[in-house]
Amino acid sequence: MKKFLKPIIFAIYFIFVGSSFIFNFESGELIGKNFLSFTFSMVKIIPVAFVLIGLFEVWIKRETIEKHLGDNSSWRGFLWAILLSGTTVGGLYVAFPIAAVLHKKGAKLSVIFTYIGASAVCRIPMVVFEASFLGIKFTLVRLLVSIPLIIISSVIMGNILIKTNYKIAKQ
């Protein structure tokens, strides 16, 4: 039953939105337009991101990631995570698969959580955009407060999860 639930919900949604356009039902049309605009912005990013993830997986040696981001990496692992997050595009939905593949290659949990948090707050194009609308001071305060908190919480979360033998889902 549960297996069929999702396709049924998807079908109902698309039939609803589709018929809204046919019968000029304004609310349904708005929902459909929201869907299309987000789908479009994701389609621009997702295929590229996944090709890069694929290339990463075949070319980058596990030892390299283990050394720089793994269990024995020092504070530099966190620095790498933050630098990498600055170049991430899109949003969290791109950061999750990247974090998963990094972990698969041996990056430790605290580093990938830092990467996820940092890619939410310090993607370079977004930061520039933010500063231009809300001012440099606003952006600086946000980065200087949130990044240390993200690192601290990631380390705590990582340590607790290691103790409970947590494994991230195989992808």
Binding site: K6, F10, Y13, S27, I31, G32, N34, F35, F38, T39, S41, M42, I45, I46, P47, V48, F50, V51, L52, I53, G54, L55, E57, V58, W59, V89, G91, L92, Y93, F96, P97, A99, A100, F113, G117, A120, V121, R123, P125, M126, F129, E130, S132, F133, L134, K137, F138, V141, R142, V145, S146, L149, I150, S153, M157, L161, Y166, I168, A169, Q171
Partner: protein, 161 residues
């Protein structure tokens, strides 16, 4: 964006010249990973389309502009957690709110939860990290966003006046 496309294309060509087999394998991995996550992405897109319908921009502008700054901060953080917006929509919106005199701490609560907390990305996140971790991460980051907002209020002299 263009730089990303170019960089990917160049890397791909180099990879293809260096090792055809490996490159094909990379594409297969990319496709497999992508097709596995498509239902979660679809769920996410459906959720976003409905939530943005429930919380349109003019409603957000109306709700954040009024009342007590602490209440506004809380409402802002809740709206930010529930919705998802790309930066090119969120920051101009924050700019408009600022011109209307909405405090920085409220704007901070809104934009930071928008970025850090994702109720609509839940279906995608749980595929990778499981339900428990997804909830824990989002709760922790919600509080981080609140801390950032409070410090923002202090720095801009909005708290303790």
């Amino acid at each position: 964006m263009l730089i990303l496309y170019l960089a990917t294309a160049i890397l791909f060509i180099i990879s293809f010249i260096a090792d055809k087999q490996k490159t094909i394998k990379a594409l297969k991995i990319a496709f497999k990973k992508f097709s596995k996550i498509v239902p979660a992405f679809l769920t996410m897109l459906i959720l976003i389309s409905i939530i943005l319908f429930i919380f349109p921009q003019d409603l957000i502008i109306r709700y954040l502009g009024i009342g007590n700054k602490y209440v506004s901060m809380l409402i802002a953080s809740l709206i930010g957690s529930i919705t998802l917006m790309p930066g090119f929509i969120a920051f101009p919106l924050a700019g408009i709110l600022r011109q209307q005199g909405v405090p920085y701490m409220v704007l901070s609560a809104f934009t930071t939860t928008l970025m850090l907390v994702g109720i609509v990305t839940f279906p995608v996140e749980k595929e990778f990290f499981g339900v428990k971790i997804t909830i824990i991460r989002n709760v922790i980051y919600f509080f981080i966003a609140i801390i950032v907002a409070v410090i923002m209020g202090i720095v801009f002299g909005e708290i303790g006046k």
